[in-house]
């Protein structure tokens, strides 16, 4: 469980986050969305104690991150993947971190195998591709078997197979009861992975709800209606909150009403309906609408 309580942080004159509050619960994957510059990285850095907030507190499982006796076992984080000394080997990098917590080589090798870096583990990290660097970052995040996994753009640079692997990994971690907090710009992937969303913009909280609710709240949810007597049906449905977009003479997209409402209205007026399909907004559309 992560708690962000009313945190504010300035960098010089810029306000990066302002009175931000939310809780991230265990057992599900929570997505962290926001445009560039919204304050996502800042928020994660505040949670990890890398930066100090001007006001407010962040708690991980009830305590500030810095006060845990084994912090890497509380939160495993991937911020920017380039947090590695390029002259060092992947294995030595992970080993140096593991040793601070008394975790041994066996676990390091296990993580290297898990992320598929076995063949390159002894080579300089400076020679890694973007995808390999990301996988090393994921290995680092999981190194001490953390209760909370916090990842910033984990699928950046991964091929489709890698993206699917991360998705399954995150869902598996959440199913084990861990807290999983992931930020990403890849909306389609987020829609498949996350159950809950925290959306921020310009340093402030915009939305904190399930993915289903978030998508449902988008105004681009419409119902495709095809009817031989479409104009009559549209007349019957007219209301200030109803939008109608004509596509063909007998096909329209109607917004502001549910499919049930349209179907019932058609039945009440004995109008035949040949197609009645709810079209849900994509996560991307909902997000764009909310953050404009």
């Amino acid at each position: 469980m992560i708690e962000v309580n009313n945190v504010t942080k300035h960098y010089g004159p810029t306000v990066a986050v302002r009175e931000l509050s939310f809780k991230i619960k265990p057992g599900i994957v929570t997505g962290f969305l926001g445009p560039n510059g919204a304050g996502k990285s800042t928020t994660m850095r505040l949670i990890l104690g890398l930066d100090a907030p001007d006001s407010g507190t962040t708690l991980v499982n009830g305590k500030p991150y810095v006060e845990h006796s084994a912090p890497l076992c509380e939160v495993g984080a991937l911020l920017e993947a380039r947090s590695v000394h390029t002259g060092r080997s992947a294995r030595n990098h992970l080993l140096a971190l593991a040793q601070t917590h008394g975790v041994g080589r066996a676990r390091v090798d296990e993580m290297i195998d898990l992320v598929g870096l076995h063949d390159v583990a002894s080579g300089r990290v400076g020679g890694f591709s973007l995808g390999m660097g990301q996988r090393l970052g994921i290995a680092q995040a999981l190194l001490c078997d953390p209760n909370t996994v916090m990842l910033d753009e984990p699928v950046n640079g991964l091929d489709p197979e890698g993206i699917q692997w991360v998705r399954n990994l995150l869902k598996g971690l959440a199913a084990e009861g861990r807290t999983v907090f992931v930020s990403s710009h890849l909306m389609s992937e987020m829609a498949l992975t996350a159950e809950h969303l925290v959306v921020i913009g310009k340093g402030e909280l915009i939305a904190d709800m399930s993915v289903a609710d978030f998508v449902a709240s988008a105004s681009s949810n419409v119902v495709r209606v095809r009817s031989p007597r479409l104009p009559e049906l549209i007349d019957a449905l007219k209301a200030p909150t109803v939008t109608v977009k004509s596509i063909e003479p007998s096909l329209a997209e109607i917004g502001g009403l549910t499919a049930e409402q349209i179907g019932d209205a058609a039945a009440a007026h004995s109008i035949a309906v040949h197609e009645l399909t709810p079209v849900q907004a994509s996560l991307e559309e909902a997000f764009m609408e909310l953050t404009q």
């Binding site: 850095r45 990890l48 104690g49 890398l50 930066d51 100090a52 991150y65 810095v66 006796s69 084994a70 912090p71 890497l72 076992c73 939160v75 984080a77 920017e80 380039r82 947090s83 590695v84 000394h85 002259g87 060092r88 080997s89 030595n92 990098h93 080993l95 140096a96 971190l97 040793q99 601070t100 917590h101 008394g102 975790v103 676990r107 296990e110 993580m111 195998d113 898990l114 992320v115 598929g116 076995h118 063949d119 390159v120 080579g123 020679g127 890694f128 591709s129 390999m132 996988r135 680092q140 999981l142 190194l143 001490c144 078997d145 197979e161 890698g162 692997w165 399954n168 990994l169 971690l173």
Partner: protein, 275 residues
């Protein structure tokens, strides 16, 4: 490099990891792993050893070959220790790099997430770096001493280990280099960039003292001169000091003071600033 990477396995990570929590012994082990696993360490220490042994031997060979034209201020020990003056650069740079390389590569984020109390990392770096530097430079100094003195014995110019002050000088030279490196570590922690840290080290040790001596009155200059880094530090390993230097261990204590102050300021800055 060629990358034939295996596709990542799809298994969810396996059962738990036993961690006793962060302990200082673990942080020490971690810093030793960091120090030994990058090439810059080997290079810097290799260069230091090269200067120590190489210049010392060359110095003694030159004296031998010029005999009986021996300089009036010649002392056999300082010939053997001629390399210390250059080795101090190599060691100082390594001290700076030990911390600034983490900032320049972003590794500092990983380190500070692993040890969010931060200061144990600095103290562990100081201990590991200090121990390694001392352990490498002392044997090199003893070796160059023995070889150099055996060269000089051709014309009976040598001193031996039993000559008063020699053992202290040899030991002191290794201590001097170690503390110079720690001074670099402190400055690097404060300034956080490699170029800045090295510039500060060079400025404080080599550039500012001559400037002070040039602009201050003679009496003021004479008063502060023994406390300047090279004079203070030099009192423990140089022979034939001029009369205006501190006694060996007093001078070394002052030199340690430079390193201690830089590390203390570095610790405060490390603790308080955003990473």
């Amino acid at each position: 490099m060629s990358t034939t990477t295996v596709a990542p396995s799809t298994g969810v990570k396996s059962a738990g990891v036993q961690s006793p929590g962060i302990r200082f012994s673990g942080v020490l082990r971690s810093e030793w792993t960091k120090l030994r696993s990058v090439r810059s360490t080997i290079w810097s220490l290799g260069v230091a050893v090269f200067f120590l042994i190489g210049l010392g031997i060359v110095g003694c060979l030159v004296v031998e070959s010029r005999y009986p034209n021996v300089r009036h201020d010649f002392h056999p020990l300082s010939q053997s220790l001629a390399g210390v003056n250059l080795a101090q650069f190599a060691v100082g740079v390594l001290g700076v790099l030990t911390i600034t390389a983490e900032y320049s590569t972003g590794m500092i984020r990983s380190s500070m997430c692993a040890v969010p109390k931060r200061l144990p990392v600095l103290w562990a770096k100081a201990l590991v770096f200090g121990a390694v530097t001392f352990a490498i430079t002392l044997p090199a100094i003893v070796i160059v001493f023995l070889i150099g003195q055996s060269i000089l014995s051709g014309h009976d110019l040598q001193v031996s280990l039993s000559t008063p002050g020699v053992v202290r000088s040899l030991f002191g030279a290794a201590l001097f280099l170690t503390v110079m490196g720690l001074f670099g570590l402190g400055l690097g922690t404060i300034i956080r960039t490699t170029a800045g840290g090295i510039s500060a080290l060079v400025a404080i040790v080599f550039v500012i003292p001559p400037i002070l001596q040039a602009i201050l009155t003679t009496s003021l200059s004479n008063d502060i001169n023994p406390y300047l880094p090279l004079s203070a530090g030099g009192s423990i390993w140089t022979i034939n000091p001029d009369s205006n230097t501190l006694s060996p261990w007093a001078g070394f204590a002052v030199f340690c003071g430079y390193a201690a102050v830089s590390l203390a300021i570095g610790a405060v800055v490390l603790r308080k600033r955003d990473v």
